[in-house]
Each structure stands twice: as C-alpha cells, then as structure tokens.
Amino acid sequence: MLRLRNVDAGYGALTVLRRVSLHVNPGEIVTIVGANGAGKTTLLRTVAGLVRARGGELVFAGAAVTRLRTERIVALGCSLVPEGRQVFAPMEVRENLLLGAHVQYARGRKDEVARDLERVYGLFPVLAQRARQLAGTLSGGEQQMLAIGRALMARPKLVMLDEPSMGLAPLVVKDIFGIVKRISEEGTTVLLVEQNARSALQIATRGYVLETGRIVLQGTAEELLSNRDVQRAYLGSDLDAENRVAT
C-alpha cells in the first residue's frame, strides 16, 4: 500500500528524517512510536506532500508520489488526520465533513457522499448532534472525531493519524483507539503515530521505532511490546525496580 525507501526530509537547514524506509501492507494497522522531536510528524507530513522529501522514494498504491502535491496524493486515497486536529474552526461541523468529501465530488462519486456522511455520523453520533455548530466551539475530543470523520469522507485507502490522543481525557482516548480499530476492521489501512505507545501497540499489527529521524527497530506489535528497550524507553516500565526484586 505504502512504501518509503531511504527518505530524507527536513525544514530549511534542518534535516529531520534520515534514510527512513518502511512499508504498510493493505489491511494493517502500523504504528510509529518515538519520543518528542524524533520526526514522527515530519514523516507523516512528508508522505502527505506537505513537506518535500529531499531524497529517497515514496510509493503509494503503486504510484510514485515523491513529487506530487498534497491534493493529488489525497485524491489517490491517502488521507492525513493532522496533529492538533486542524478542523475548519469558523465553519459548521457538517461543512467540515462535506469539505472532506471534496475528492469524492472530483471523482464523480457525488451520490456516495450522503451515505458516507451517515456512516461518519454512525461512528461519531456526537457529530450528528452538533452538525450545525461551528467546529471551533467543539471540545478537543469532538474536534478529533471531526478531524477523523473529515478524513474518512474522502474514502481513503490509507488513513494516517498524527497523535490522535494528544491532550484528551483518558476515557476519550479509549474511545478514539476503539474507533481506529473499527476503521481498520471496516477495511481501511491505518498508519498511526502516537506518544501513547502502549495503547497504539495494543491495536497495531506492526510497529516501527523512530529515534532522531532514523528507524532503529521494527517488528510485530507483540515483539515490540515485549522488547526490553522499547519497554524502558516508551512504555514506562521501571526495569531497574524489576531487577532489584528479582535479585
């Protein structure tokens, strides 16, 4: 579905990603874990074409997308739910969702939009209740749901989520992860970037560990969850304490 080969990217004089290679197979939930500033957001923005890759190659659904503009990549079926939600604050919830369906109109699939809208309202009943409210007046969790719903309106093959749990209450976080799982079960491939590595790995099929712009580890979700380095660095396990108990 998606393949990155030796991708370099950055801003100005700053190089953030160094020779990153990874792939996402159809139907998978792949997660990228890493500390703040490791380059997780830059990685997703590079795939979406918001940041230009300086080297390497990006292939999505069999097409080379390295040099394509964002709107073309989205039209191919690769949607990003950006960090910090980025809803259209001064516009109604419903308008936000219809804007998400822009590529569907462009594909001439206008008749599917109404059904997709019902599907999103089904996933997020709260959005149906707030359909006429301005997006900027929603709570953080509701805005995150709207951002995900907006991306789904494009009928993507792959949806990339950037820190969907950031700044949300634990119960809402649980909801969001449940929704991500459901989206995957309904047939959309997911690439998930999360600080909350444990929750992400629990729903993921595979994962990559990104450290200062490089992929340092990869494996199935179970492998990563049981890896001692990952546990120490990203899952908050206090291994020293465990060792003391053992001896």
């Binding site: 503009r69 709107e71 990003l80 950006p82 980025q86 604050a89 001064p90 822009h102």
Partner: protein, 296 residues
C-alpha cells in the same frame, strides 16, 4: 444645517462610500485566502474604469463594461501567476512589498498607455444634470446605479461564499490552508481565483462610479489607502463590515467638507485609520471571538 443639505451630503457620502466599500471587500477576499493585503487593489479599480472608457469608443456601454471587467480579471490572474504563485511560503512582509511594487508597475503602464488625462464613462441613464428628487434631495441616477451595483456585489459574494462548493472551498482555505490541501483542495488555484474575483468586482465598481468620480491613471493609490482603512475599520476579513465601514468613511468625508476646507478630506480617512489602529485594531464590527476562532 438644513435637513435637505444634510441629506445631500449623505447622498454624496454614500456615492464615495460605494467605491470604498467595494475596494475594502476586494482587500478582504484576497486577505481571507492568502493572509496578504494586496495594495494593487486600487489599481484594479483604475484599470476597470480606464479600459471601459477605451472600449466604449468601439462598442456599446454594457459590452465595454463587461469587456473591462474581463480584462481586469485577466490582469488579476496575471499578477497572481507571475508574482505570487511561485513563492513557497513567503513572509507576509515580502508579499506586501510585492503588491506595492505591482501597483507601481500597473500605474506606470497606465500612464504610458493612457497619459495623464482624466476620463469618465458617460452616465448610464440621463446625463450630468438629470436628477431624481427623493424627499427633497436631488440624486443623480448614477448614484442609484452605484448603490445598486454595490448591493448586487455583496449579495453575489454572500451567495458565492455561503452556498457554492467553490465558495466553501475558499472559506476552508482561509480558515486553514494545510487542512484544505489535506481535503484534496487545490489551494493554489483558489488563490488565483481570489485575485480574479477581487479584480473583477474592483473593475465593475470602477466602471459604475467613473461618471461621478472620474478616473485617471493615478487614482489607485488613494483608493488603496481608503479601501485599507475601510477593511480595517470593518474588521479585516469581514465583507459586511467593510461595506458598513465604507459608507461610514464616505459619509464622514462628505460631512467634513462642510466643516473644513475640502483639501482636508483625505486626511479624515487617514486619521480614522490611525485612530482605529490605536484604539480598536479588531475593527468596529470585528468581534474578538471571531478573530480567535480564525487563528485557532
């Protein structure tokens, strides 16, 4: 002051207010999609009026106006394509300086091609002396043409932005450009469209008011300052605010003539601009809450 005189000043103020309002609205359209103030906005008004006068030598008035609007729209697209489009994330200051440069360029080109003479289109109906009497006030029919055009432009823009897919895309682009691109919207084309749109309405207004206010190669700068005042006064980004502020500034100027020498007329709008910038930068009609939502 007698009531008739007050009303007479009011009508004069509304006439000038029309063009200020339309220039202010033009500023807003481009500001909303790009975040820049296009100081060549006044030149679009000039270009519209001057082109229409030239075309009117060969074709009937309605055709001349339609032609002038089309030519100015093309000029707007050309300005965007040559000066704005290829810049990758330029700073606001750089964009402003570019538009000032463009306005100087257009003005000089107009001087070379049309010379310094002052021109005007003929009155659409009647002539210089014909007037309608409304409530004891003499109103030139051209004033009614101007007001009607202004209303038409505002209604058209309202419908366009609220009820068409393209208008909705432009509002999305204004609210969050990256997010608009992530919806698959071709944001660069919308920036071009915003230049075309504001050039078009500027040109239309330039044609309609030219019989009363006259037009010459150098009217753009003054209009840009007035239009900018109006856009700020009405709350940057708000078209309805700009229309209200346009009429307010026009009326203020008209009444100032009765109290002060006419030479101070332009100083009034600059004084208003400074006062607003010092006292209420969000504008008279701009609400703080809306501004926060915008930047959120």
């Amino acid at each position: 002051m007698q009531l008739e005189l007050v009303l007479q000043y009011l009508v004069a103020g509304l006439t000038y207010g029309t063009i200020y309002a339309v220039v202010g609205v033009g500023f807003n359209i481009i500001y909303n999609t790009t975040g820049i103030i296009n100081f060549a906005q006044g030149e679009f008004v000039m270009l519209g009026g001057m082109t229409a006068v030239t075309l009117h030598r060969f074709v009937p008035l309605p055709l001349a106006i339609a032609g002038a609007v089309a030519v100015t729209m093309a000029a707007g697209a050309l300005v965007e394509a040559t000066c704005i489009r290829w810049l990758e994330k330029p700073s606001v200051l750089r964009m402003i300086i570019i538009t000032i440069g463009v306005s100087i360029l257009i003005r000089e080109l107009a001087l070379v091609s049309w010379g310094e003479s002052v021109r005007a289109l003929p009155y659409f109906t009647g002539n210089e002396v014909s007037s309608l009497t409304l409530g004891g006030v003499h109103v030139s029919p051209q004033v009614l043409w101007s007001l009607a055009t202004c209303v038409l432009i505002v209604v058209f823009l309202w419908f366009f932005f609220q009820h068409t897919s393209l208008g909705r895309q432009m509002r999305a682009c204004a609210a969050n450009r990256d997010a608009a691109a992530l919806c698959g919207i071709a944001t660069k084309n919308l920036v071009t469209l915003s230049f075309v749109l504001s050039a078009g309405i500027g040109a239309l207004a330039g044609c309609v008011v030219s019989p009363i206010t006259y037009t010459a190669y150098n009217i753009g700068t003054g209009l840009a300052i007035k239009g900018f005042t109006v856009a700020i006064l009405g709350g940057l980004g708000s078209s309805m605010g700009a229309v209200g502020a346009g009429f307010l500034v026009g009326v203020l100027e008209a009444f100032s003539v009765s109290l002060m020498p006419a030479a101070y007329k332009d100083a009034i709008s600059v004084a208003v601009l400074l006062a607003i910038l010092f006292l209420r930068p969000s504008g008279l009609f701009g609400s703080g809450a809306a501004a926060r939502l915008k930047t959120a």
